[in-house]
């Protein structure tokens, strides 16, 4: 479960790292980021946003930064400094994970 959530959180944070977005903007961006592989379904998206807010990794903007071009998306989200730190930490963790795996596979490759 936790790793699953992480995946959602990770891409939402990655999406918000670029700029502030509303819900539908995040869905589109994550679709694009993952080459269409990860679609954030509506309830999952807002559930995850809620969790991220509780963790203080994102916050909701009081005022929409752009003119209200699409009705219904009045809620915009921004990544907090804590959120950015968490994202960076996660990327570092993944990097070290990848490093470990690559070293092991390289050795296996030699011996076989």
């Amino acid at each position: 479960m936790a790793t699953d959530m992480r995946r959602h959180w990770f891409f939402i944070l990655l999406s918000l790292a670029e700029r502030d977005r509303h819900g539908s903007g995040i869905v589109r961006d994550v679709l694009e980021l993952t080459g269409g592989e990860l679609r954030l379904w509506p309830v999952t998206l807002y559930g995850s946003l809620d969790e991220l807010r509780e963790a203080s990794w994102i916050r909701e903007l009081d005022v929409a930064p752009q003119a209200d071009e699409d009705r219904g998306h009045r809620r915009w989200f921004r990544m907090t400094p804590q959120g950015r730190r968490a994202l960076v930490a996660e990327i570092e963790r993944m990097q070290s994970l990848v490093g470990v795996a690559q070293r092991r596979l390289a050795r296996v490759g030699e011996s076989s």
Binding site: G23, S24, V27, W41, V43, L45, G47, E51, G72, H73
Partner: protein
């Protein structure tokens, strides 16, 4: 009701929003609107990728709710420890259910599909039944509205139409009503720069809007003065016409509309809900004549009862208000007023059909439930060991039962969503199948009410098919199920379950027999209807109507000149072999009168005097329609132009009625009787076969044809039907006919242009719809029953592998084993038939009014239905039977 102006959320979005109620309250309050908007956006974005993409998106989003909602609840409850365990176990149950479904995708899909079919049939039928019977007319206090008419049993008429002076007497004397009005359906030629169209509307008395409780959204309706005996050129237009013709412009009031070649002034616009009794585009004043003499009965009436007045009181009041009419001109009380509930009046024709469809859909759902209950039961029996282990590890029977119920609910929910979507599609299909059989005021849409009904069906379904297996673990013998290796687990245990499984299949077969027999009878009745001789030859005949406006064609002589030119030009057109005209085409209008026949036996005072259908026709009409002559000859067109000669062709029905003992009535004379009597004496020149004028379902009345050239300057016939027989393709003919009419008068629209065969089909479209619906129900029932038999026998064969192995080891042949299994299947069918046959006979007698030419106890239908069930039972039993025969005694006994 929703006004068409407010932006309508699509059905799928509304369904999705309803499902969002599964979310925790705080999340719903904060996020539901955004989630819904996001869903709606993405759904419409998916539209460009096609229907499947949209469907997939909708289903995946629904699953997203199902997956996420328990988690969201759990996340919140996590802070409140006392509720955690229930919620957690629900989530666990759900996850467990989903996992067990995905492990067996095939059977799960089959279960879901089966249930979805049942839900779909019920949703579609409910929408129709709801639209017809449950939803009130969109008028304020619609329950106080009643339908008025008059009846005359002696004339063989249940509805004569209302006589205008009678109505005036009622309106003056009746006390039980707030208001009372008349209407008459009428149609007009509506001209503008782009051409001429035909528009249908109502002529109404001035208080019509008061009765219905309708206010115009612009301008006003008629005043009492405008509804006086002299026609006034004012018109109130309906919302639809306002939108299409005037683009909803607010300064439409005061503008002119060219109606029947005469300018009329628009004085008001009606709200959309004023579409009564359907497809109404305008209202005109009725302009009845209070001094009208004679028996002209033609109007429909509607009245609003005073608050607190019952239908019976209103009826009694109307009868007492009618008393002066009887005293004045009808001492024999031949004509009397009739009053019924407005909706009741309009749905009479659909009552049997609605009930039959509802019952049929319910049977399909019940069969689906029995089927799924069987499948779930079989599953739960196969899972006995797993369940027993869980119980041995401390799970309570209650806990395990709840697990099973959760599984059923999850299955029912998925099936319900698919079924509701398919059902919506089914509604569209039904509406498309019979577009003009469904009255315009019926709102056929799957809205909140349909949704609520579907939800109810889903929950009830889940309970029905989920309860049976859920009750099982309590009775389960834990120790017995866990005893490995003991031959007992395979043969002796499971007897009660097998009985239950057998019972479910027997129920399925019994219900399937009811549906099969019903559909067989309805399809045969429809076949009989199709083969009914309509009294003319519709193949190769095209018909349409023309209405000559009085402003241009003042009287019968001018009209006759136009029509003879038209007929001549049509006949001169290549491809058209003959053409003729008649005042009322088959299945069309009705004009009636009474005749006095020379030499007819005198009629007793109380003897009935059936009304006679009167038509004017040209000499070419009979040949064009292929109406057969049984005696004498047809009249010639010139014959009636001779002053004082009125040749008449009568139908067999009339001949039988007035001259029952005369072999050849040609040369006999008759005249019109009653108040409308003229001195004209008609001479019978021929007798023709009856044409089924009132539809193939209804009996023919006595009727006669007079010559269309029998005219003078005092008469005016508002419309004529034109019939064309052609050798070439109908499309070419209709184009040619249009060209000819346009050449003669560019302001005349062709009304109801269609092939005669289409008119015949339309007259029985209702019966076709119900026959097809039942055939579909029957096919579904048959395949479900077949699946049920297959499942049970497969299960039984699986259970009895050892026994079969022993038999074969002892020398039983393959054929014997196959017979053993098939016989078991046939036993279930036999039981099902024994139970189903009386039910089917009962159901058929309820359908009897729809059964034309086939008895409710028609043995052939029942034999075929039973044979079909038995035959498919044998086929579906053969597969498990062959599997059983393939049992290798060594392995079968070895793994015991």
């Amino acid at each position: 009701m929703t006004t068409p102006r407010s932006p309508r959320r699509s059905f799928v979005v509304r369904l999705y929003r309803a499902l969002l109620f599964l979310l925790p309250a705080d999340m719903r309050d904060r996020d539901a609107a955004e989630i819904e908007a996001l869903f709606a956006d993405e759904l419409s974005a998916a539209r460009s990728s096609g229907l499947l993409a949209q469907l997939w998106f909708a289903i995946a989003s629904t699953l997203d709710i199902a997956r996420r909602a328990p988690y969201e609840h759990w996340r919140r409850r996590g802070r409140r420890p006392n509720e955690e365990s229930t919620m957690r176990s629900f989530v666990a149950d759900l996850r467990f259910a989903v996992r067990s479904f995905t492990r067996q995708p095939g059977p799960t899909a089959l279960i879901v599909l089966t249930l979805a079919l049942g839900v779909a049939a019920n949703t579609a039928v409910f929408a129709i039944v709801d639209g017809l019977f449950l939803r009130p007319f969109p008028f304020p206090q619609a329950e106080r509205l009643v339908y008025l008419n008059e009846r005359a049993p002696a004339w063989n008429l249940e509805f004569t139409g209302i006589n205008y002076p009678d109505f005036l007497t009622w309106r003056e004397r009746a006390r039980a009503f707030d208001a009372m009005a008349l209407w008459s359906e009428t149609s007009i030629n509506l001209a503008d720069e782009s051409g001429v169209t035909r528009a249908d509307g109502l002529a109404v008395t001035y208080d019509f809007p008061k009765v219905l409780g309708i206010r115009p959204i612009l301008g006003r309706t008629f005043t009492k003065e405008e509804d006086g005996p002299t026609p006034t050129r004012v018109v109130v237009i309906a919302y639809g016409l306002w939108q299409t013709r005037f683009a909803g412009s607010r300064d439409v009031v005061g503008q002119a509309l060219r109606i029947n070649s005469v300018p009329y002034t628009v004085i008001g616009v009606l709200p959309p809900e004023a579409d009564f009794p359907g497809k109404t585009q305008f209202w005109m004043p009725l302009n009845g004549d209070p001094n009208q003499q004679g028996q002209s009965y033609s109007f429909d009436g509607v009245a609003r009862m005073k608050a607190g007045v019952t239908i019976e009181q209103a009826r009694a009041d109307l009868v007492s208000a009618h008393a002066p009419v009887w005293a004045r001109s009808d001492t024999a009380h031949v004509v009397s007023p009739r009053l019924s509930g407005l909706r009741e009046q309009f749905v009479t024709n659909f009552r049997v059909m609605g009930k039959a469809l509802g019952a049929g859909a319910l049977l399909v759902l019940l069969i689906a439930c029995a089927n799924v209950a069987g499948a779930m039961l079989a599953r739960s029996i196969f899972r006995r060991r797993e369940i027993a282990i869980r119980m041995a590890l401390g799970a309570s029977a209650r806990r395990v039962g709840r697990q099973l119920i959760t599984e059923s609910l999850a299955l029912a929910a998925i099936a319900g969503i698919i079924g509701t979507l398919v059902g919506r599609w089914g509604i569209r299909l039904l509406v498309a199948a019979a577009p003009d059989q469904i009255p315009g005021w019926v709102q056929l849409q799957a809205d909140g009410r349909t949704l609520a009904f579907a939800a109810l069906v889903i929950v009830l379904t889940a309970i029905v098919f989920g309860l049976v297996p859920a009750l099982q673990p309590r009775r389960a013998d834990v120790a017995g199920s866990l005893a490995w290796g003991g031959g007992g687990t395979r043969t002796s245990v499971g007897l009660p379950q097998r009985r239950l499984l057998d019972a479910l299949v027997v129920i399925e077969i019994a219900l399937a027999l009811v549906l099969l027999a019903g559909s067989g009878l309805l399809v045969r009745a429809y076949g009989n209807l199709r083969n009914t001789d309509p009294g003319f030859r519709p193949d190769g005949v095209t018909t349409f109507r023309l209405a000559l406006p009085r402003a241009k064609y003042a009287n019968g002589v001018v009209q006759e000149r136009f029509y003879s030119r038209l007929v001549n030009e049509l006949k001169a057109t290549p491809g058209i072999t003959s053409a003729g005209i008649v005042t009322c085409l088959p299945f069309g209008c009705h004009w009636g009168g009474f005749v006095e026949a020379e030499g007819a036996p005198p009629r007793a005072r109380n003897e009935s005097n059936p009304v006679v259908l009167m038509r004017y026709a040209s000499s070419g009409y009979f040949g064009t329609m292929g109406i057969r002559l049984t005696r004498g000859r047809f009249f010639g067109d010139d014959e009636a132009r001779v002053r004082g000669r009125h040749p008449v062709v009568i139908n067999e029905q009339l001949a039988r009625q007035v001259w029952p003992n005369v072999a050849d009535p040609t040369g006999r004379r008759m005249k019109w009787s009653g108040d409308t009597a003229t001195s004209q004496v008609m001479t019978v020149v021929g007798v023709v076969r009856d044409v089924r004028h009132y539809g193939l379902v209804n009996p023919m009345r006595p009727g006669l044809y007079l010559s269309s050239s029998d005219v003078d300057t005092s008469n005016f016939r508002p419309s004529y039907g034109i019939a064309i027989r052609s050798a070439s393709a109908p499309a070419a003919v209709t184009a040619a006919a249009r060209a000819v009419v346009r050449r003669l008068d560019p302001e005349l629209p062709l009304i109801e242009l269609q092939s005669a065969q289409a008119a015949v089909n339309r007259s029985i479209a209702n019966r076709r719809t119900i026959a097809f619906a039942f055939a579909a129900f029957g096919a579904v029932a048959l395949s479900l029953a077949l699946g049920g038999i297959y499942a049970v026998l497969s299960y039984v064969v699986g259970r009895r592998r050892q026994e079969i192995g022993i038999r074969m080891a002892l020398g039983a042949r393959r054929g014997q084993v196959v017979r053993l299994v098939v016989r078991q299947g046939l036993r279930l069918v036999a039981l099902g038939v024994v139970i189903g046959l009386p039910l089917a006979l009962l159901a058929a007698s309820a359908l009897s009014s729809l059964l034309v030419g086939v008895g409710a106890r028609d043995p052939i239908t029942y034999i075929v239905a039973i044979g079909l069930l038995a035959g498919t039972a044998v086929i579906s039993a053969l597969i498990p039977a062959r599997r059983a025969a393939g049992v290798d005694p060594k392995t079968a006994l070895g793994d015991g």
